[in-house]
Symmetry: C2
Subunit: 400 residues, 2 copies
């Protein structure tokens, strides 16, 4: 009943980047702590990342991919660590954008050196609230400092310094990843030639703020949250986190998409049971999403990352509230994609960003991709998205 969100190739097929391995890089340490946008310093900062393809001799073919709220560095291919489980690759999961990244795919690893790093505050390899605080020897929990989209981009730039990459051929990402791509265009205008912002606007809508607030409320009120210090406990705030995920998942879909997928069909029965269980198919689907999420994600990370999503406002940060002024910073070739049925980052808000760029004469390609699959379209509509990304990346710069 749960459809795959992307086509993917088996690890040994010509279209796959194959088995992948992640690396970790210490970007900041005690002698050189990381200065946070929220004030204060953090050390150490370890960043997990993956790369695919080869960096060319002029170090000019790097594409940085930025992940969304619950994503990680594993964009494409098949995680070698999962191979060790002895399960078949069919039972495993390829990277979250496997349909887009690989040999011959729209982000072509035969030509580009692709990298993706896990964000600060997450729970997928990079330092976050579940990391041990070296000063106390216990996990940070909610003593972890607030993180921002700006921090993430600063750390990604630092990682590039370490890897010896001065300039990116492109950055791209969807949703919260799209906001990082936009931040790249404004924070480091001279370090990136092409910027692709998918399903993201300059700031989250107030409705988006509201949904995040309810999700966090569910986590914070879960009695197993224990103020964020649940790591030693038998069970963390899994109910609260599941509720937050179920709610968020609704905002990733669209009424039309859900109607097509589930309608009002009952779950494996002809007539209602008159219970509070999973009577309808859509309830069973959400229940599954909640359960699956708590197995792989940390509730504290969910709090920190949704807050970063709330705070980000490119217009406020770079233009004192004037998006057009903020766009004056941009030097890159821009591609901006919205998705017709996306109501988390609605097309009208995304278009406002494209129009602001136009107003200051910045080169921008904007497409509102026809789609009925909601916000997740940036992951699902691989053919349409690939068909737009590929020519944007392949086109000579002079022709953009």
């Amino acid at each position: 009943m749960i459809p795959s969100q992307q086509k993917s190739d088996p690890p040994d097929s010509p279209g796959s980047v194959g088995w992948t391995e992640s690396a970790t890089c210490r970007l900041f340490d005690e002698g050189n702590p990381f200065p946070l946008e929220s004030g204060g310093f953090l050390s150490p900062v370890d960043m997990e990342y993956e790369t695919y393809g080869q960096l060319n001799a002029t170090r000019s073919n790097a594409i940085l991919i930025l992940h969304a709220l619950s994503g990680d560095a594993h964009v494409a291919g098949w995680d070698r660590n999962w191979k060790k489980t002895g399960r078949s690759w069919r039972a495993q999961k390829p990277g979250w954008w496997d349909a887009m990244v690989g040999p011959g795919k729209p982000i072509d690893t035969r030509r580009f050196f692709v990298l993706c790093a896990n964000v600060l505050g997450s729970c997928c390899g990079t330092t976050g609230p579940s990391s041990l605080n070296p000063k106390t020897g216990i996990p940070y929990g909610t003593r972890f400092p607030a993180v921002t989209v700006g921090d993430w981009v600063t750390l990604q730039a630092r990682l590039l310094d370490v890897l010896g990459i001065q300039e990116l051929f492109a950055v791209t990402g969807g949703s919260l990843g799209g906001q990082q791509a936009l931040e790249w265009a404004m924070a480091f205008p001279d370090r990136v030639r092409r910027v692709l912002v998918l399903a993201a606007s300059a700031r989250l809508s107030v409705q988006g703020l509201a949904f995040n607030a309810v999700g966090r409320y569910s986590i914070l009120q879960d009695p197993r949250f224990h103020g964020g210090d649940y790591y030693g406990e038998a069970q963390g705030p899994s109910s609260g986190l599941a509720a937050a995920r179920m709610l968020a998942h609704i905002t990733y879909l669209s009424e039309e998409g859900m109607h097509r997928k589930f309608g009002r069909r009952l779950n494996n029965r002809e007539s209602p049971e008159f219970s509070f269980g999973t009577e309808f198919e859509v309830e069973s689907y959400l229940d599954h999403q909640g359960r699956a999420f708590v197995k792989r994600f940390d509730a504290n990370s969910y709090l920190y990352i949704t807050r970063a999503m709330d705070y980000y406002d490119a217009s406020e940060k770079w233009g004192g509230g004037d998006l057009v002024a903020a766009c004056r910073r941009v030097r890159s070739q821009m591609m901006i994609l919205s998705f017709a049925s996306d109501w988390l980052y609605p097309p009208t808000h995304v278009r406002d960003l494209a129009l602001a760029l136009c107003r200051v004469g910045r080169p921008v390609t904007y497409v509102n991709v026809p789609s009925s699959t909601g916000h997740d379209a940036f992951l699902i509509e691989t053919e349409a998205v690939g068909g737009l990304i590929r020519p944007f990346l392949e086109c000579p710069e002079s022709a953009l």
Copy 2:
């Protein structure tokens, strides 16, 4: 910061129905238990209701108003019980549709005898899960039987029998109240002359099912829920119920309305605190809505009533899945109002109902009311709604 959802008159003004008192009527008892649509019987069934205005000699001027999810029988005026608290009327709350019901108001109590009854399963006077089960001497909790929109309408008809009212001049309600109005048109086509359905379609959308599911999940997972037997406890599942209410509240508003009301403004500060508290105004608003709701509403009732909302499907019930066939049952003059920015009962779904009525030649007035205030528009846009309801009620039947 929280704007009043309706204009209302002080209890002693000419536009107010003044101080009101509710009545309770035992509709079914042990010797004559109520047969439920979900199977089984329930007794006793006590129903709380309020009336305003006078029934005329021919008993032909009664208008039944049907309340939504969290509503009650107190539609208009000032509850006399609240007067007893000694607080000034300014600190109190008029009925939930006070702007619409009163002397000279669109539902004019100088002309009409208006009544409203609290639904079965609620916690505002009518028998519900918080009532004592006479067989056990303890509250029903989740042993209360499932209730349906059909049950509610059957009980309302029974109340009319008791009051000696064979035929209603009109029924009206918004949201879940609108679905009850529609059920009246189909279940008792010969007992109601005019039916006004506001902000409601023939069935809840799958997105609506999904939001209800997450709300119930929050309640059911609250460790203070105790399987529904929390009535003797110091604290019930207030966190779960608050989360459900906060979430539902977002679906009652619109992005545009929220943007106008709150935008992304911080709550009483210039720059973010970088906390998980109520940083943004919209968070403070939702927090208030959650807290206020748990003081007045029962979590078990919330479970039962949202389930009734899920199950209702006029098309399935009366037309075997064919809405046009279901509409053949209708004999009343119909007025159907949708609200342009309502995404809980979207205009396209409401219009489908109007079109189905048209297709079988039933007299229907359909208006998609321009409004940016979302689903709650049926409560907020009193001028537009009043301007449509008044002529529909005043017009001679021959002219409709």
